[in-house]
């Protein structure tokens, strides 16, 4: 047997091993070095951010978490960043799930983000977990006109009448936008068909790689922001991280007495290039600032982004190597195929 024959009959377990290493090694390397690859947002990820950013603080956002642990690898980071943007912006978040396990997804993402980084948000006033309801698109169809029909209580068993932020909510029409993290049916397509299209509500979709291509035709009329697969998550995550940092710096600047529009300009500048913050504090313009505010600003500039907000960007490392492996495998497979065919071989 020559090399080509041996390659053509390669035990597929070697390919499995290659795939395992292509994914495993970058995870270890990135885990130890802590470095991630840079991300440039594509228009759709930016649009997803802009929709939520353009709404006034305090807007009502329906967060529909329609996924399960099987797709958490792709959608978990999106869910994290969606919550982070809404929490930082001060939107009111209403979580629901159409997948039985979605209720657990709501719990894990809210406890990680709200519990860990926005502990000041009050349950029932700033966010509420309405839990899972069975019925797939029938749930959406019902709440488009009547919310309480399907959701008499929240996931913790409190009547919706007793939840302050549910006041004034009679149907989906009372919401300002819908954010959906979706792994299949029921999911983003159902939210487009039964809610976003008839109500003409802004809809932001974060979906798996399998669904993403089918969602593109709905942009921009029926879907305003689309995050496809882990790449979409990574782009959106980087936009949100940068913005949150600039917002926090803006707070520090304003608490130190720097006013608009100078504060916004500076915050944006420091967010793009954090090292500038420490040199700026020594300049004359910063003289008016209190020492505490200056220290806070420099702290913010040098503080690393918490690991949970870099999940998608970290995952782009194994993604890169595995994609190259896939391309290599397809090319190798074809090379072997054409080589054996030319010889009139086994094909």
């Amino acid at each position: 047997m020559n090399l080509i024959d041996r390659m053509a009959n390669l035990d597929r377990r070697w390919i499995f091993l290659m795939m395992g290493l292509a994914v495993g090694i970058p995870i270890i390397v990135i885990g130890i070095t802590g470095k991630t690859l840079p991300e440039e947002p594509t228009p759709l990820a930016q649009a997803a951010f802009d929709v939520l950013d353009d709404l006034e603080p305090g807007s009502r956002i329906l967060m529909a978490w329609d996924f399960d642990p099987a797709s958490e690898g792709e959608l978990g980071p999106m869910a994290t960043s969606f919550i982070r943007q809404c929490a930082q912006k001060g939107h009111r978040m209403y979580f629901i799930a159409l997948w039985p396990v979605g209720a657990q997804m709501i719990r894990s993402s809210t406890s990680r983000v709200i519990g860990g980084y926005y502990p000041d948000l009050v349950y029932g006033e700033d966010w509420v977990d309405l839990g899972f309801k069975a019925g797939n698109e029938a749930v959406i169809k019902t709440i488009v006109t009547d919310f309480a029909q399907y959701f008499p209580t929240d996931a913790r068993g409190t009547s919706v009448d007793a939840i302050p932020m549910m006041e004034g909510i009679s149907s989906l029409a009372n919401f300002d936008a819908i954010v959906n993290a979706s792994a299949g049916y029921p999911g983003s397509k159902e939210w487009v068909l039964y809610a976003a299209t008839p109500l003409k509500k802004p809809l932001i979709v974060g979906c798996t790689g399998v669904q993403a291509p089918q969602m593109y035709p709905y942009v921009p009329n029926q879907v305003q922001g689309l995050l496809g697969a882990i790449k979409g998550a990574a782009e959106y995550e980087s936009v949100v991280n940068k913005w949150v940092r600039s917002e926090q710096m803006l707070d520090a600047l304003e608490s130190g007495g720097i006013t608009e529009p100078a504060s916004s300009e500076l915050a944006a500048r420091f967010a793009a290039n954090p090292s500038e913050a420490s040199t700026w504090t020594t300049e004359a313009a910063a003289a008016a600032m209190s020492p505490e505010a200056k220290t806070r600003l420099i702290e913010l500039a040098s503080a690393p982004t918490p690991g949970i907000f870099l999940e998608a960007q970290r995952r782009m490392g194994p993604q890169l190597v595995a994609h190259l492996l896939m391309i290599g495998l397809i090319i190798a497979g074809n090379a072997i195929f054409f080589a054996t065919r030319r010889r009139g071989g086994s094909q």
Partner: protein, 233 residues
């Protein structure tokens, strides 16, 4: 009788739901029907559990091959069901500590949560993660550039695979961003493919499927398509 009643149920519920879209006075009828649908969907979960029980009990009683695995299925099924249904180890709702059954069965720390976190979650997630291995094996064995169409398919896949990672950015970073050829940068190209070619293809598919679904639905509601009632009169 066996077939007439279901046909009428389908027709009536369908009619009510369609009318409720157009006549405001009938809207609440539609809401009731869709809420009932959700309740029946939840009952279907019970049916699923019941069927599983039936199949595996039969397998065990017949001593079919692999009946020991059926024992595992039944054992884990009953254990999960017991801790969930009876809310074992669940603390009451903090707002109502005197109502013992008011607790949250899915809350962190309950035995039911433990089953989810350490059994259900790793198992289902890993099952899906296995697909990465199989798609790699398929890439090596099945994707052949035999004709022009296949080359188009594979070429697009390559652009997407490269353009959606840092590799694409790295390979074509020498093309100026604001120059006339910036569209040829792989990350731009992948966006262009998705928003134009993929959108066109999928839009046609969506339009086709929508017509198909509307047609089938109409046939079902009018009783012309009775395949869901099963074969044989």
């Amino acid at each position: 009788m066996k077939r007439i009643v279901p046909l009428w149920i389908t027709a009536i519920v369908g009619l009510v739901l369609i009318i409720s879209n157009f006549l405001p006075g009938t809207r609440s009828w539609g809401e009731e029907a869709t809420t009932w649908f959700g309740i029946i969907a939840a009952v279907a979960f019970v049916l699923g559990g019941g069927s599983l029980l039936k199949v595996h009990l039969k397998k065990i009683s017949d001593r079919n091959s692999g009946w020991a695995y059926s024992m595992i299925v039944l054992g884990t099924f009953s254990a999960t069901l017991a801790v969930g249904l009876f809310k074992i180890g669940v603390s009451p709702n903090p707002a109502f500590p005197d109502v013992p059954w008011s607790g949250d069965v899915q809350g962190q720390g309950t035995p039911f949560w433990w089953v989810y976190e350490y059994v259900f979650k790793p198992l289902t997630a890993t099952m899906f993660a296995m697909l990465a291995f199989y798609i790699a094996s398929a890439a090596f064995r099945a994707f052949r550039a035999k004709n022009f169409e296949a080359v188009l398919l594979l070429g697009t896949a390559f652009i997407i695979l490269l353009g959606r990672t840092f590799a694409g950015y790295f390979m074509t970073s020498w093309i100026p961003v604001d120059g006339p050829f910036s569209g040829l940068r792989l990350e731009e190209l992948s966006v262009y493919i998705m928003q134009v070619f993929n959108t066109a293809g999928n839009r046609a598919i969506i339009i086709g499927i929508a017509l198909g679904i509307a047609g089938t639905s109409l046939k079902i509601l009018m009783g012309l398509d009775r395949s869901y009632l099963g074969g044989g009169d």
